[in-house]
Symmetry: C2
Subunit: 344 residues, 2 copies
DNA sequence: CTGAAAGCGCTTACAG
DNA sequence: CTGAAAGCGCTTACAG
């Protein structure tokens, strides 16, 4: 019993005016001086007929789509980022839906040959793109941007002329390591969240080095190992750290997921946290609070990243000036149970 | 330097044919016998001009939108369900994008007065709705369905004539409790995932009772407490259980998140898991593997739920017959470290 | 085998 | 103050 929806023409007939007038009234066109009487009559007719505009037609006429795509690349390794996807989406939709835009989620195949998300733009499916966890090198993104497609990158990137939002990785890592130093630690290891081809890893390493440097602690490459997104990689990296001639008294780990694997390795070696080693990590995923010991970690504001990305893409679409091409959100250190004062 | 995209008219001009012919060729209309020569000429022109169809125009002409909305209700309590949102989405997009449909994610305000997602349908923004975590009573969903809107509900519901996908909660709970019984436990408590106004809680309780009954264990209301989605509620519920005159030797908890809080309560009371109490829960969220002890739990196949929901909504949109109105996916018990044989 | 034409439901100069 | 008309870029009977 799908009933035909009323169109603007139906409303016009019902109210005894032209479609033009209906359009003016319904869209509150500013310089169309419609007398209050007809105005009310039209609104009344629209209500009676349960009129809702057909956005497809509207879009065709205006050339907009009122749609923004969130492009997600899902390599199985990137499940870490995935933990924040829901939050990010919520932040983004909150913003754009307030302005009648909607979010289209597109799962881009990481290994696809053909242009996967370029098609969304070229077929006029969306007005702009939010690209989650962009690859370091992504010719397609650059190409689309050069063609004039509104794009906001989410996550670490060597942003050229493309707008992006990210957390301030350097500051976050710096704060984490400062915390360890203030607790008296001097021999501090580091396990990255990802290989150092990823900019997030590079920035977090930079924050680590900066904190060490500032306190006159020399950087020791022997204490630094690369994680690879997963818990398993954290386990392995911690094994290496433990194999060191002199065990560090603390470690900064680039992500909670990797840290959880590292904790496992420490437990297996009979080491107690934080007594034998303080651990501070990065992300503040939901489970970091429930791991034993609860992780001291750097909070990643995923919801706010989404909000900011949403605000930026709307501005770009509307050709409004952007205050900053690269928004870096501050982080916050959440102190829990995995760090403690160096026992002497 | 946003260049104007080529339209079908451009292709027609370039190839020296009419738009009709171009449309026929590009859409492979079956009974349009276009000679191979012109056919190739048209395809060549389209390639040269980098033609991509304007889906807005296509949609207006055909009356379809090739869009499916995923409606998410986000009360903060429902963060538990949220943990699966990403997986569910991935499953759903995998299916529908293969057929050129796209997923629109809409965050419905739980407290909104106005129709939030009905508008998506009425404005011709989407062809159908996937409703995540539907409320027990949702007049709007029923109304939309009665109007002929294709809808698939995700999650527990007293499905009337609306299609839905869910996990087999009764079977899952049954399997979990069977596991405890096989380990020798007879005094088994239960903490639900949510208040018993939620059908998922009711079904899981039913599975619990069924397993008890089958083994001739009488149901003891004193051992059953309601959780409320959160870890905190699990902590409280476990407190109550512990206050019991006779402590159960095992407990089935309706969700991992609630179980984590319960574990905390047990720890605080100096009880050791699984030595003093076996714990089996439900969901198999990512962190259940990393909690200490790692949780024995019932795996919820979120990705497959998404796939099934995607398949069903496509069939409904295309008016193809549905094999089942209510798809219940089987669960799997994942045995880890939180359950053990009853020590005598 | 292929084209002229109407139509999908809107917007928006342009007249009056 | 309001309407007739063209246009957005497609599809699809209907002719020839």
């Amino acid at each position: 019993m799908k009933k035909r929806r009323a169109t603007m023409a139906d409303v016009a007939n019902h109210a005894g005016v032209s479609r033009t007038t209906v359009s003016f009234v319904l869209n509150n066109v500013p310089d169309a001086n419609i007398p209050e009487a007809t105005r009310q009559r039209i609104l009344q007719s629209a209500r009676e007929l349960d009129y809702a505009p057909n956005v497809q037609a509207l879009n065709l006429a205006t050339g907009r789509t009122m749609m923004i795509a969130l492009v997600v690349r899902q390599t199985s390794e990137q499940m870490a980022a995935d933990l924040f996807l829901g939050e990010f989406m919520r932040g983004a939709t909150r913003i754009i839906e307030a302005d009648d835009y909607h979010l289209l989620v597109h799962a881009a195949e990481p290994d696809a040959v053909e242009s996967t998300y370029g098609k969304l733009v070229r077929t006029h499916k969306v007005d702009g793109l939010l690209v989650a966890s962009p690859m370091v090198e992504d010719p397609e993104v650059q190409l689309l941007h050069d063609e004039g497609t509104p794009i906001v990158l989410n996550g670490a990137t060597d942003a050229r002329d493309i707008a992006s939002v990210d957390v301030d990785n350097v500051q976050g890592a710096y704060t984490a390591v400062r915390h360890l130093i203030e607790l008296g630690h001097r021999r501090i290891g580091h396990i990255s969240n990802a290989p150092f081809s990823y900019t997030s890893s590079v920035y977090r390493l930079a924050g680590y080095r900066q904190a060490l440097h500032e306190s006159g602690i020399s950087y020791d490459e022997q204490l630094v190992f690369a994680g690879e997104f997963t818990t398993e990689s954290g386990y392995v990296a911690m094994q290496h750290l433990i194999d060191n001639p002199v065990l560090p008294t603390a470690v900064f780990i680039g992500s909670d997921v990797v840290a959880i694997g590292a904790l496992d390795a420490l437990h297996h070696h009979g080491l107690s946290i934080p007594r034998d080693m303080s651990v501070v990590s990065f992300d503040d995923i939901l489970l970091s609070k429930y791991v034993r010991p609860a992780l001291t970690t750097v909070h990643l504001p995923a919801y706010d990243l989404g909000r900011n990305a949403g605000e930026m893409i709307l501005k770009i679409i509307r050709r409004q000036p952007l205050v900053k091409m690269r928004v870096l959100l501050p982080t916050e250190l959440i102190v829990r149970d995995s760090t403690a004062r160096l026992s002497v």
